[in-house]
Amino acid sequence: MSLLKEPPPGVTVDVDQAHTKLTEWVVHMEGASGTLYEGEKFQLQFKFSPKYPFDSPEVIFVGEHIPIHPHIYSNGHICLSILTEDWSPALSVQAICLSIISMLSSCKEKKRPPDNSYYVKTCSANPKKTKWWYHDDTV
């Protein structure tokens, strides 16, 4: 598995957790050096449906530390098009992790999305049920 053999820098899979339940993974991630998130540690949760890889996994940040980023809500939901309408069955967990690290790395200013408090109050627990509007490709 390429995620175990050649993971993106700072990325590790919680293997014990994945062994307990194969359809739910936790991935530990570190902010890339030279970026606003350098030294910060995050956890991503992946949930795979029986239709995976034809259906995208549910990916959210979990735990104490949710990155402060214009496309990441304080409940861990991530506004990233490859997780819904731009999903491809060729995208691996490794590729998703790389996209998220890249999204963090290009951030110029740490802030929550402008609609954060409204969204976290009204959204479903599953981010795939959100009708995302992908309009900002600058970060």
Partner: protein, 84 residues
């Protein structure tokens, strides 16, 4: 010395000739089969798109059937067309 051959048993190996080792959708080796099949070979063949990307036929059909609007190659996102 004359040798008379009474019988022989032929043994052959085969493999798909593809530009990759494994299917980008199910990640199984092309010399194996997709996750819905039990045996590799003609019953689980490979197909190529005009974009040159190659998948198990069962994998790419499942993907295309799940797509309503655009039928794109999972690797390069070009419109999927089967290579003749």
């Amino acid at each position: 010395m004359k040798v008379r051959i009474k019988g022989w048993t032929g043994v052959a190996t085969w493999r798909w000739v593809a530009n990759d080792d494994s299917c980008g959708i199910c990640r199984m080796p092309f010399d194996g089969c997709c996750s819905d099949c039990r045996l590799p070979g003609d019953d689980c063949p490979l197909v190529w798109g005009c974009c040159s990307h190659c998948f198990h036929i069962h994998c790419i059909m499942k993907w295309l059937q799940s797509q309503q609007l655009h039928q794109q190659c999972p690797m390069c996102r070009q419109e999927w067309k089967f290579k003749e």
